[in-house]
Subunit: 352 residues, 2 copies
């Protein structure tokens, strides 16, 4: 099974409509910026690394038909498109990183022709895609060293193929461990409200032949109590300079429960998820989403009484002290994080 | 609003169909034992104290038309009915307690006529109902002393009106605190998979004018991290002699999270929920339910991929060391539990 979550094809962004899974594997082709904005907002495309690619491709959609008479007019059009995309979802660092990469290419080539500028931006977006394929595999190579034969791993949300281009971060580590011949069992937290765990992770883990069992989020502690979980691995949407990590709501809960039960708790994310402008987790913006995601099941059947208040944060922040290690494409980072993140990702930092 | 969850009316068991809430407040009338068995299994009637009443009324349904020629034939019929009801759900202590109370009345009156025996069993079942009304209010009176003005209380599942006759245990404490003029805010965990929190607790709390906000179960830790929860109160399905408490899956998770965040974690349950024949939580049978409760949303829309494994325990066990106090109708019990449970409930124990 060869699945590519997002790519540039026939002059359009082609991606899997993740709201249709697991019932249907359906692709969407988009060539209008506001369609992309909607697709990101509705989580048709999601997952921090995939959003980085979507954002850069989105910039290209936003400028490909622009008839700017000079570079200033061009960069104004680019910034307008970037600001528009940036307004779709606030938490994932990679989305902004994708926008920044597209802009930097333009700035570096301000003396080039309009046609060349456009080509270079598309090239950069496709480079992000190529890099992600490679980086996920590098990350998985580092991460799988932490995994032993017969481990039972708990995960949350989807940090797999569907969150990246074609391999995954947290789930990439599991795929790599399996490729190395290790017997791995996975418990996938269903991940309310939008059930990325039961809909997406269970789907791709099953397709890749991994022994996966779905649980409700509130069952994780009970499994840990019974000694059935050896490791927890989650992805990340944004990692602060001190290691504090924003990820899908429920991640912090698993981190505390792991600490209590003495289970290693790992975060897996590429360098592009780190935000050196954010010193700690308290400065990471947390998206709050539509209450209907909670009060109605997938917007279909009402469950909570009409008019009842709902609190629906999409993410939470796990303080660095609860994280056993951060698995990146540059290596595994251990505490103390502020120093070791700088050391391991220093080169990435300088590149910006 | 005066709601009675379960009662004996017009020669039938009348109860609210809790699978229809919050959309419809609909009553069911049952006069056949196998209909009652189905209703309990399908959670149309649920909640440990309500199940105690249902079980005793069920024994009456099972024997009311029996034409036994002597007491032995009568008690055989009674035991057959009781065994049948006992097979519906294994965890809640009150269900078995209700069956035992009905049987004990028969044993004590073995010399009475068949007609009198039947009348006495119905009388006992109605006595259980009358006692529950009183006991919930007593429990709430003790529990509300632990609640302060402006407390924000987190709860899970439904331990309210709908889990008892008409007042509740964990939610009864909140109702009483409000009656005393205390300003209380409640966060209700939706309680996957069957959403008793968002469907039932949110419904009755809202009806009683309590400020309630629904969250997904995986959001509780984040609220605690932000200092937004002062107290956690949960009900119980069975409490062992040492204080270990089986309750809705997810309760143990909240207990660990409360410990980590230094938040008092209370269990609220009547004396009838204690099981002195069970020395610790590891001996409490935990019901595992249909995987479709998890893999399909309320049995309607498939979410997990077809054929994926699901683990669906209905309850978990919270070890006594994580429980700050157990609120009962005989008083608030503190650690050390084995001694203090005996002391507080001693009279109840001897009665058996």
């Amino acid at each position: 099974m060869k699945i590519t979550t997002i790519e540039w094809k026939n002059n359009k962004i082609k991606f899997i409509d993740q709201t249709k899974l697991p019932q249907k594997l359906e692709y969407i082709y988009i060539d209008k910026l506001n369609d992309l904005w909607q697709a990101i907002k509705m989580l048709k495309v999601r997952g921090a690394p995939a959003l980085g690619a979507a954002a850069a491709l989105g910039v290209y959609l936003g400028i490909k038909d622009v008839k700017a008479k000079d570079f200033n007019a061009f960069i104004r059009a680019l910034d307008k498109a970037a600001r528009y995309i940036a307004g779709s979802r606030p938490t994932a660092r990679n989305l902004f990183w994708g926008l920044e990469r597209a802009r930097r290419v333009a700035q570096k080539n301000k003396d080039k022709s309009l046609l060349t500028l456009k080509k270079l931006i598309l090239k950069e977006a496709r480079k992000i895609i190529a890099e992600d394929r490679l980086n996920c595999r590098r990350l998985a190579g580092y991460g799988s060293k932490l995994i032993r034969d017969k481990d039972t791993i708990l995960t949350i949300c989807n940090a797999g193929i569907l969150a990246t281009i074609d391999y995954g971060t947290a789930l990439g580590v599991i795929y790599r461990a399996k490729e190395e011949g290790k017997g791995i069992k996975v418990f996938a937290c269903e991940t309310r409200p939008l059930l990325q765990g039961s809909r997406l992770s269970a789907w791709e883990l099953k397709k890749r032949g991994i022994d996966v069992t779905v649980i409700c989020d509130n069952m994780a502690a009970s499994l840990m109590q019974q000694g059935k979980i050896n490791k927890v691995i989650a992805g990340a949407d944004r990692i602060a300079a001190n290691g504090d990590t924003a990820n899908k709501i429920g991640t912090y809960s698993l981190a505390v429960l792991s600490k209590y039960h003495n289970i290693p708790f790992y975060i897996a994310a590429p360098a592009s998820t780190f935000d050196f402008n954010v010193q700690s987790g308290k400065d990471i913006p947390i998206e709050e989403r539509n209450s209907r995601e909670v009060s109605e099941l997938l917007f279909r059947k009402r469950v909570a009484p009409a008019g009842v208040k709902v609190f629906n944060p999409a993410f939470d922040v796990t303080p660095h002290n609860l994280i056993s290690a951060i698995i990146t494409d540059k290596g595994v980072i251990l505490q103390p994080y502020r120093e070791n993140i700088k050391r391991t990702l220093g080169q990435v930092l300088r590149k910006r």
